[in-house]
């Protein structure tokens, strides 16, 4: 699909943190939320999410507990920790700086030099 973009390496963790920062979610919910907030533009491989969850939990950025979903299914819910919030802020700034720099580089025209 032309509307979808490939994920850059390292951006999956950032997207997960962002998605969870908007409220506790289970794994499938995070998948949906990423699609929703990216306007269905970013494609995440479903299975690849889970190793990322475990990695983030181990790094202390997320915490997980079992609960019940809206339609009464048992599911594991993820929540941002304080360290996770700090990391999200730092990575967001870093990403924005990078994006701005790349955008300005790409916007360069001969006249502006």
């Amino acid at each position: 699909m032309s509307g979808e973009a490939q994920l850059l390496p390292g951006t999956l963790d950032l997207l997960i943190l962002k998605a969870v920062s908007l409220g506790p979610l289970h794994g499938y919910g995070i998948l949906l939320r990423i699609g929703q907030i990216s306007g269905q533009a970013l494609l995440v491989e479903q299975g690849a999410l889970y190793p990322a969850f475990f990695r983030l939990v181990r790094q202390g950025l997320l915490k997980a507990k079992w609960g019940t979903s809206d339609n009464n299914r048992r599911a594991k819910f993820y929540e941002l920790t304080a360290a996770g919030q700090k990391r999200l802020r730092a990575e967001t700034e870093g990403w924005q700086r990078l994006a701005a720099a790349v955008a300005s580089a790409l916007a360069a025209t001969p006249e502006k030099l």
């Binding site: 479903q46 889970y50 969850f53 475990f54 181990r58 979903s69 048992r74």
Partner: protein
């Protein structure tokens, strides 16, 4: 952080399942039927198994988790190559087993101290020429009372006695010890009491006997009421007063006797007075406990000063060398020296076996890793870290080395149990206490781990060099290696080590074979020996000679017996006899310093030399008329003549003196034989007629032309007929020489085993390398053959390298082995490396091994079918 942080599989599975259900709910809502929705959801999620593994990794599945993974994978890989695994495990098992046994022996004999309180400050005292620990009793008393360095000085001696507790009399060995013996050693009784210094009140004043635990267990069935009972030792009554703790059998490692009696009572047991004889070094060993803070050197200097004073006071009886102190358990350097040297050498050789096995397995593993280049490259390409791949290979090596180590240790324990139970000499209470302890297990485990790391590390460089992309694209390289690779060095080293072992074992075996067929100065074949100790059976000195005459006459008439004689100690069959000093005829002073020589003395009946087939070179044999009433005569050997008269044939009819009053004429000269040990230098010896120099402890020497066991039974019958209560020990002279041959036999057997192991290792090493090089170049050979290359050039291409390495390794090994064989000469008689047969033998063995090892690979190389091979590609 916890080492083992395992996310339960259930947890991951449940989360993935929950994901599938939630996704299916959504799909169902969009109109799909439920089962189709779940199927679709599952497909969308992809390989759950893979994600599960990744989740474990992501959750920190390092450490034990990945170790378990590696182990599982390693087991799978090894199970797929059963031959390789079996060969590798057996190789390492042999090497670890050999090391475990040798180390256990080293540990038990050299490293482990005596099992007594504070064994570190117990020392034996060696102060006469030849490093013997023997002392005379008066000297011992002076040393004990005058020294300022020891907390106590004890001494002991061996006694052999008829032990009669009312049932059947036993011939048993014991220790006659000074009263302070148990107190110096700090031994506590297991039962009853032990004897002490205040039990001694002069000669034969303390008729007490203390039993060892083993003897009490075996002959009194742990009966505590034995305390207080009176038993007969050589027909003298002794009261049993106690039992020593289990495991205590004196201070000598190899000797385990049955009982302890006070030394002051030894005179009545052996019939020889010695308590007041300063010149007679009867005591086997004096040993003592250093006072706290006294160094070994200071104690030796202290004893030296006393010795010097004794020498001044008693010049007639005294001659001493510098005092040395040694560990008492191995009789100082006398046994300890050769034992230590031999065990150290053996440990070294066993270590070499292990190194050779590691080199062998290292090259096999490297070859295997090369064959698995594709697999390794694939794993690297799929994102496995190189460290993870190396870890995987190391895990496989570890699995093999641990399995091999366990198997080897198990085999080693069986050998050790057998060694402990082994009584090499039925007539002596000697055994080899090779009991394994924790140290042995730890050493075996460490060796297994270390060797696993060692040979597992061989392929690491190769893995690190692997470039996944080129390998996956073009397949493993099939280029011919030029120059020497690391693997070649391993093979050469291994073959060299194996050649050393083969050389050493051939040198030993050859020396041993020669020692069996050497000239001893007598002919031990077809001779039965029967020992009787008449005073032990209650004979008075004046009854001894007539009884001995009757015994000789009784056995001489047994059918098949060609001659019979008496000797007080048959050469090479017992530890050795007395070596009194002799003086030249013109001597006016008779002190130890003025003695012409110290010579072995054999007391014999007239027919002994003829019966033993000792060649008379000049003069005459003894006759019945050389008795107590006749002038003293002697027959001497050529070494004696050489020493006293300067030439091997001089001195016939000359005189020498045994002491001031005893002038002896030499009436015959015989060849010089071997007397105490097979490796001894020529020893001066003299033969004296038993009638002029009586002894109640003699051996009947019976030569016969029939089966020795029949003769032995007949001798027992005849002697029983003469005196039913007389204990007799019967053995063939050949058997009796087992003790003399023992060091050579042990050396030969152990080196032979190591040599065979070495040969097997080099066989498998060369085979592995040749087979590998052939299998790698099969395609090349196919092409060559298709292009018409002659078979000879194929074979030389296939095996030339292997054979060159074999030749190089063998040459290095033989050179090293011949240098090392010099050490052997001190243990195995006539072991000489400069023996064409040995050199030839080693070369033949190595060539045969080479041919054997390369035969199958060569056949494989020649059987290449070029068409089939090229089709496969």
């Amino acid at each position: 952080m916890r080492l083992f942080r395992r996310v339960p599989d259930d947890d991951v599975d449940e989360e993935l399942r929950s994901h599938v259900l939630l996704r299916a709910d959504d799909l169902e809502r969009s109109g799909l039927p439920r089962d189709e929705a779940e199927r679709r959801a599952r497909i969308e999620l992809g390989g759950a198994l893979r994600y599960r593994e990744e989740c474990h990794d992501a959750a920190g599945g390092t450490g034990l988790e990945s170790l378990l993974q590696d182990t599982r994978y390693g087991l799978r890989v090894l199970r797929k190559a059963p031959t390789f695994t079996a060969v590798a495990v057996l190789t390492i098992a042999l090497a670890i087993g050999a090391n475990a046994v040798v180390f256990a022996a080293l540990n038990a004999i050299i490293l482990r101290p005596l099992d007594l309180p504070d064994p570190g400050n117990l020392y034996s005292i060696h102060r006469i020429v030849g490093k013997s620990a023997a002392q005379s009793y008066p000297d011992y008393v002076d040393l004990r009372d005058r020294n300022t360095s020891f907390d106590g000085l004890a001494a002991f001696n061996f006694v052999i006695a008829g032990f009669d507790s009312g049932t059947n009399p036993l011939r048993s060995w014991g220790i006659a010890a000074t009263g302070n013996y148990f107190d110096v050693l700090r031994v506590q009784p297991y039962l009853g009491r032990l004897f002490h210094a205040d039990d001694e009140h002069g000669p034969n004043s303390a008729s007490f006997v203390v039993l060892t635990h083993a003897f009490w267990h075996a002959h009194f069935h742990d009966d505590p009421s034995v305390i207080g009972r009176v038993v007969q030792l050589n027909k003298h009554p002794y009261t049993v007063i106690g039992v020593t703790p289990p495991g205590f059998h004196g201070t000598l490692l190899f000797f385990s006797g049955d009982f302890f009696v006070p030394l002051v009572n030894q005179e009545e047991l052996t019939g020889t007075p010695f308590l007041a004889v300063r010149g007679d070094h009867v005591l086997f060993m004096a040993l003592g406990r250093l006072k706290p803070g006294v160094t070994r050197d200071r104690a030796a200097a202290d004893l030296d000063a006393i010795s010097a004073q004794l020498e001044k006071d008693y010049p007639k009886d005294h001659k001493h060398a510098a005092v040395t102190l040694a560990r008492p358990n191995l009789y100082g350097d006398y046994v300890g020296g050769p034992a230590r040297a031999f065990l150290t050498a053996l440990m070294l050789l066993a270590g070499l076996i292990l190194v050779a096995a590691c080199a062998n397995l290292g090259s096999l593993f490297a070859a295997r890793a090369a064959d698995r280049t594709r697999e390794i490259a694939l794993r690297l390409a799929l994102g496995a870290g190189r460290s993870r791949v190396v870890r995987q290979l190391l895990t496989e090596a570890m699995l093999i080395s641990l399995a091999g180590g366990a198997l080897g240790l198990w085999g080693g324990l069986i050998v050790m149990r057998w060694l402990v139970a082994w009584q090499p000499f039925p007539q002596y209470p000697i055994n080899i206490p090779v009991n394994p302890d924790a140290r042995v297990y730890v050493a075996a485990a460490l060796l297994a781990l270390a060797s696993g790391l060692l040979f597992g590390a061989a392929p690491i460089r190769q893995v690190l060099r692997t470039d996944p992309y080129t390998v996956v694209k073009s397949g493993p390289r099939t280029t011919v290696e030029r120059g020497f690779s690391f693997r070649d060095v391993l093979v050469v080293a291994q073959i060299a080590i194996c050649a050393v072992l083969v050389t050493a074992s051939l040198v030993a075996v050859r020396g041993f074979m020669r020692s069996l067929h050497a000239a001893f100065g007598f002919e031990p074949r077809d001779v039965v020996l029967a020992e009787t100790i008449l005073d032990m059976a209650g004979y008075r000195p004046d009854q001894v000679a007539p009884m001995q005459k009757r015994m000789m006459e009784a056995v001489a008439t047994i059918p098949g017996v060609t001659s019979a004689a008496l000797v007080d100690w048959p050469p090479l069959a017992t530890g050795g006899g007395n070596s009194p000093s002799v003086y030249s005829d013109s001597a006016s002073e008779f002190t130890a310093r003025t003695a012409a020589a110290s010579v072995l003395q054999l007391r014999v009946s007239p027919s002994y030399l003829a019966t033993a087939r000792t060649t008379l070179l000049a003069g005459r044999m003894f006759s019945e008329h050389d008795d107590a009433g006749a002038p003293r005569v002697a027959i001497v050997n050529t070494a004696f003549a050489q020493k006293l008269f300067g030439s091997a044939v001089a001195g016939l009819h000359a005189y020498f003196r045994l002491d001031e009053a005893t002038r002896v004429q030499i009436v015959g000269i015989v060849e010089t034989g071997r007397y105490a040990s097979l490796t001894e230098p020529p020893q001066a010896a003299m033969f004296l007629p038993l009638l002029q120099a009586p002894s109640s402890d003699t051996w009947l020497v019976v030569r016969s032309s029939t089966d020795l066991s029949i003769i032995a039974t007949a001798i027992r019958d005849r002697l029983h007929h003469l005196d039913a209560a007389l204990p007799v020990t019967i053995q063939s002279w050949d058997q009796g020489m087992d003790l003399a041959r023992f060091p050579a036999r042990v050396a030969t057997v152990s080196l032979g085993v190591l040599g065979i192991m070495g040969a097997m290792l080099s066989l498998s090493g060369v085979f592995g390398m040749a087979a590998y090089s052939v299998s790698r170049r099969m395609r090349e050979f196919g092409i060559r053959m298709a292009l018409g290359a002659p078979r000879k050039s194929i074979v030389s291409a296939a095996l030339g390298r292997a054979l060159r390495l074999l030749a190089l390794g063998s040459a290095a090994g033989v050179a090293l082995g011949l240098m090392g064989a010099r050490v052997l000469a001190s243990i195995v008689w006539q072991a000489t490396p400069r023996d064409p047969l040995v050199v030839g033998g080693v070369l033949t063995v190595m060539v045969l091994l080479g041919l054997l090892a390369t035969w199958i690979p060569a056949q494989r190389a020649l059987s290449v079918d070029p068409l089939a091979l090229l089709r496969q590609e």
